[in-house]
Symmetry: C2
Subunit: 304 residues, 2 copies
């Protein structure tokens, strides 16, 4: 099993789902704890118009403030949706640029006003621009396993976008299960197919736990050779199409699982648990995560 | 993928964890809905001393009452712990007898006052007795992946018990993750090993969702060729060693996953969801299950 890379996205995909806007000082505290935990990549926010998603209005500030601080080897990622976002991200110190298109025509039209093909061309242009500026880029396919508007999304539609990314020389590719429709068998199958499309490809995954399948899908992805896993502290965030958001795959539950599988023992699980606890206290509600409530397995040594 | 067999254990492993004793008429209602759902096996209760577990005091009555009713092809199972339990089970119409030993010496001593080796001899004798009476038997290894008292349980201790079962001609064997310590990699490994021990073996699994890994472990078990899955409506029950019981693998979440994987579309998911909803209302709390709250995926047709 290759070393799994944890990409924490709670400050973006989690907080953007919250009604309550979290003040900058509070984000700073959580971010500090997340950095201390030793996760590999942390997404600080998205570059979306502050009028549209006020929760993300201070993304640039957060980057500026933390970019200069000592912070070990953690990489800061940001989500950009358009050219303006790229400009903002380049100006404030984003290291890993994340961007993507939806594999569902309806989802694409609703989010961007463009067809999937048009949106793909535009995202590829922005991604190449970021690469030209010396940045790392991860491109994604959203609604890769099903769509809240359209229902099932044929695998060939996803593969067509992946082909276009590869043709453009974009080789770090994430599949996002925006609506939470993925099942582990399909996860194994599609990542198997994609891995065979190129030797250079690095696969990432982003699962929502809407129907309780987040970790099962993650395990299936790991089995298929996916190395970058996006997850969210406390299991914040989740599917925008259901009333009851099941959350993202929960970072500390994922790290707990990996550590029980003798992986990533270098990550400080206790920091993640305390961060989830602090977020739960802040929002005064139970989060979807499990281990921050049960505690970790008392004697985590693996058994032969 | 072989046809998965659903063994519903909520009325036993779920209700025995509840402080509140559920009256017989209420159990009857839930059982009726579970039968209507078309799950394959339903565990009606355990044959334990009513002074010890009052929640199971009416197990014999429930068997007597439902054994004669028209009920399709569903099989009724009961858990027996000793000779007295076998006697009661034979008298009231149990079809599938479930019984087991713990792979952890401490757990075994606390539960039975016997060493693992002694408990195994005794359970084998009871199992053979049940077979002699023409009954089907499933034997299990509890704490097969870790113990709430001892921590890690070496795989060889589990295998030693499985060997003894096989030597006695007992070939339907369940591994129970009593403390919720299993991880999908170990699940695949140990069931792979066990499947290779005999061509006649039928493997069953019983996972607790204490650390959120229930469905991931179930998927791993299915991958390794496990066909019988024990689960609990609403995700009732769970690990007795933690303050916050994460519940059993949730039946309706499992069936939802399988149906999304084009399996067991014959099961009426809506009946399971309504049963979970009714149980949640009865106990006036949210259950661990997910899909009874989110609803199932709107268009569940699988995609090529």
């Amino acid at each position: 099993m290759e070393k799994i890379v944890i990409h924490e996205v709670g400050l973006r995909d989690g907080l953007q789902m919250e009604r309550q806007t979290v003040p900058l000082e509070q984000k700073e505290q959580w971010l500090t704890t997340l950095i201390e935990s030793g996760v590999d990549i942390i997404q600080l926010g998205s570059f979306v118009h502050p009028g549209k998603v006020p929760q993300m209005a201070d993304t640039d500030l957060l980057f500026r403030e933390f970019s200069g601080r000592p912070r070990g080897s953690v990489v800061f990622s940001g989500l950009v949706l358009n050219e303006k976002g790229l400009e903002r991200g380049l100006a404030c110190g984003v290291e890993l640029f994340c961007m993507g298109v939806s594999a569902s025509e309806t989802h694409s039209k609703k989010n961007t006003g463009m067809t999937v093909a048009e949106a793909t061309s535009r995202i590829i242009a922005i991604a190449l621009e970021a690469q030209k500026a010396g940045k790392t880029v991860q491109v994604s396919v959203q609604s890769a396993f099903g769509c809240g508007y359209e229902g099932p999304v044929p695998q060939k539609n996803v593969i067509r976008i992946v082909e276009r990314y590869l043709e453009a020389g974009l080789t770090t590719i994430s599949l996002a299960d925006t609506a939470g429709h993925a099942t582990p068998d399909r996860v194994e199958r599609i990542f198997g197919t994609i891995k065979r499309m190129s030797d250079d490809i690095t696969c990432a995954c982003h699962f929502h736990n809407t129907y309780g399948l987040g970790l099962a899908n993650t395990y299936a992805a790991v089995r298929a050779g996916v190395v970058f896993i996006e997850s969210s502290v406390g299991g914040l965030g989740g599917c925008p199409f259901t009333k009851i958001a099941g959350g993202n795959v929960c970072t500390e539950d994922l790290v707990h699982m990996l550590q029980q599988m003798c992986q990533r023992k270098d990550i400080d699980l206790s920091k993640l648990l305390s961060c989830a606890g602090a977020i739960s206290t802040y929002f005064a509600r139970e989060l979807p995560g499990t281990v921050y409530r049960t505690g970790s397995i008392a004697r985590p040594e693996a058994v032969a």
